[in-house]
Symmetry: C2
Amino acid sequence: MTLRPKLHEVSRVAGVSLATVSRVLNAKPGVASETRQKVLATLADLGYREPVQSARTGVVAIVTPELDNPIFPALAQTIEARLARYGLLTMVCPATSDTVGEQEYLDHFAETRAAGVVVVNGRYAAFDIGFDSYVQLMRRSIPVVLVNAVAGECPVPAVAVDIASGGEMAVHHLANMGHTRIGVLVGPRRYTSTLQLLEGYETAMAGLGLAVDDDQVSETLFTVEGGRAGVAKLIEAGVTGVICGGDLMALGAIEGLRARRLDTPADMSVVGFDGTDLISHTDPPLTSIRQPVDRMAASVAWLLRNQDSAETAATGVHLFQPDLVIGRTTGRVPV
Amino acid sequence: MTLRPKLHEVSRVAGVSLATVSRVLNAKPGVASETRQKVLATLADLGYREPVQSARTGVVAIVTPELDNPIFPALAQTIEARLARYGLLTMVCPATSDTVGEQEYLDHFAETRAAGVVVVNGRYAAFDIGFDSYVQLMRRSIPVVLVNAVAGECPVPAVAVDIASGGEMAVHHLANMGHTRIGVLVGPRRYTSTLQLLEGYETAMAGLGLAVDDDQVSETLFTVEGGRAGVAKLIEAGVTGVICGGDLMALGAIEGLRARRLDTPADMSVVGFDGTDLISHTDPPLTSIRQPVDRMAASVAWLLRNQDSAETAATGVHLFQPDLVIGRTTGRVPV
């Protein structure tokens, strides 16, 4: 049995070009998923037994910020597992300003005709950037899903944790333990996620009739160092409980307190955001607003696979409610 | 100025096909790095001013185990930063037995003619697997570098932390604080890294004239759960200090001790392995054998870029000495 006549036959029966049959057999990109399935089915029908080099139907890129923050590998790994069930090969692309930027990855996957692109906390997270790069990908028939840090009017399918709601939960948790001087440690205000956390915080404080002064809000970077530096202003302001925009920031805040011989939670309660597995091993175990990573990943995979065209895509933000995981960094207000 | 005549001119001057010029301009894969550089130089010489879609000279895959263990994102991110300096676009591929396997990624990057493949703790880590898949990639002129868990006779360029030496350092650290009943918590024995840790441990123990009984060695999984379960045997055996094959395992051991109302380090000292940034935030901060991730990443990038052919590649293991980072999980032997 020779290969070539067989391939011609497959091409004829499946009604696709010989080049397409060859691409499927060699697991090359550039073949629509349906066409690929048709070719594979025809091959099976015709008793083709040459090993198909990969059963994967396409490549999906997950473009993330740097992998140092454990929420990003956690999201990427969970989304990867979901996409694998759909027969997709996932590549995680850590876009950083120092190394390779997001747009370079987007261009690469547009050129290589990826089966989809997932962008986690991408450049769009700064609300002055907009969504043009992603809309352009969709117009080129590449499905796109954005994850987190998106606002309501998003022209691209998006999945996000409800940060404002998380902020409200954290305020109520602290208020229930007697705190009234509650502060926030947030990232730069040009990020959507910062505005959302502030919104939830301010709504909940107003609802409880608690005042919010400017000195209760400390703007810093989303890192351990950012938290360490940013907590100083809140100590000065007499804040007794702080809600942080990220877990690494919260660990930094605890370090900053410790450096001033202040204890968590005796002197100041600290709430993180993200709630990766890390938090159960920190000193003390961190109270955190946890992203429902599994449910979000399932939704990302679904939105990606059911995106037929830019026109019919389920655009807008699919919001997920976070959980409050209570560790040992929050306690009663100091007397 | 029109584009097409220009491309013909570039093709003629650079001595490459028109298709190759087009591939370079469109940042498509399948062009050797040298050819790409020649085309880009020719384009510049001829005053070609159309935007080149990407200055990247190729794609490198970093195939890693699941990203849940923070050492893998840390290694991947650091290697990515080094490769970006060489103009390479890096993709991190989390190969897991449940989702997409290592070989599927290797096949994909062979087909798409990657500029290189880095495999971190790959299937070769089990010493009965061998190196055939990687040698085959090299024969297809795709540079390969392996990271960690390799033995001495490796036919592929490899970079690894000296695990045996790390094990010796840890034994000496514990012995210096009066410990004589020192144990190890290791991964499955089919992994090279397990044998290397045991070798360092046994060498150091023998050098100090300390006995090693079977019940001082506990074999378990490289996870928090593995550490939690595996420490039980060592408690039974009256071990007062334990060296673990990974940091997650060490965190699990501390949890297992705590569940039995035993304190770290008062009742048992615990040493981890990997030493990612995580360890300074754990409860208590973990003593750990730290991999010199920055130096290893620089070496990986160098070996990848200077690999001209399978025949002349700098095969064999380039060993890196770890550091012992002393946290607060190790202390004097209990009296």
